[in-house]
Symmetry: D2
Subunit: 126 residues, 4 copies
């Protein structure tokens, strides 16, 4: 079955190549830590934090998914070339409307290195 | 074959119900009119301008696609419920890297009322 | 806005290169012409009839969609390489359950040559 | 992070409701156990074996994915209603071209009960 790689804090990783490998594949969730129920809430999913991933035809980030617990909230797909075939961060902003506390995870898929999941991000919803 | 409805300026439409029907289904592209080649360029696709669409299980905007001419740049999918089953605007921000002038169109798909395309938006890329 | 190329009977086309171009991009629907309401009904969508399309990283059929009138029934996505990077026909069998007469159209998307739609196929549903 | 439920042989499960729950959500891969490199190879993914899943607007199987090891080969998406809102098996036949031995897994996503993965299926490719 496909392995789902999980983000590890790269400050604990010694080898530069491994730091790069882990970081550039991992999706990161950027959003506020609290919001109000029933209001639009922006959530950015960005792949890679300190290191960027190639956008080559045979090697690119093909999709990202945003889950709340076990529930898919939204997903985005990117054909190769969307980032001009440069090394850069795949990035998308979703705008969801929560009704109660969120427990967000993002998943990214690299056409060469498979599935990667972010750390969980809790959002308090009043 | 599926009809692709095209946005019509609703100020030319007389009946309120028809203005609402056209506007709430049409994707609108929000972005700068010029940018630099090789730089990240945010493009918002938002469905509906003055009127909002339901987010019901049997009636919602299921996906939006962003094209440059005939080429798909990115797409986003939304299960019903992402907007808390409220009437609101499906909205997503893509971040692309252009290399030359863009001629953007967005397409939205409503599970009850089919395919809708935006007006074209030209972006000058220096 | 993206052009949606429509299948033309290639026996009316003179140039061999143009026959190939049209045929290899066009989705063809293969199914029975009648069925019973409430029963599983297989529908094959196959891209190209007499001519096959490349499966190159920078040039492949990325998705096919099956519509009934204006309503999306199902879609399938294929990363490059699924056909071993050989020239061949992208092909998928959906299994739908109709309740009344169908008016099917398929759409295929080529990463270099955009959107293509099939001829309409009517299915009588008793 | 989203839980990925893994198929368990239901003959080991005592409660009827739990057998039904596990079986109707699990994707099953149906294909030959061996094939030739470079030839089209049909792979059916069918959700549920002895028990069928609802196709309700707020509760349906929204997509299935087919992986070979960590690599996505193909995926199919189904809006609610494709199975006439009847309890039945979501089913799709992909046609891939392998070049070496396959180690297939399917993933299914239920809009209420999340991600489910099949047992692995090995295919010998000569």
């Amino acid at each position: 079955m496909p392995k789902i790689n999980t983000y590890t804090n790269i400050s604990d990783v010694e080898k530069e190549a491994k730091k790069d490998y882990i970081d550039r594949h991992s999706p990161f969730i950027h959003c506020a830590s609290s919001t109000k129920a029933g209001e639009k809430f922006p959530v950015k999913v960005k792949v890679g934090n300190e290191y960027a991933h190639p956008d080559d035809y045979d090697h690119h980030i093909a999709y990202v998914q945003l889950f709340n617990g076990d529930t898919l909230l939204a997903e985005a797909r990117f054909p190769a070339g969307t980032l001009a075939n440069q090394k850069d961060h795949v990035e998308v902003d979703f705008h969801i409307i929560p009704t109660k506390n969120l427990n967000l995870t993002a998943i990214a898929y690299c056409t060469k290195h498979g599935l990667w999941q972010s750390q969980e991000v809790a959002v308090e919803v009043e």
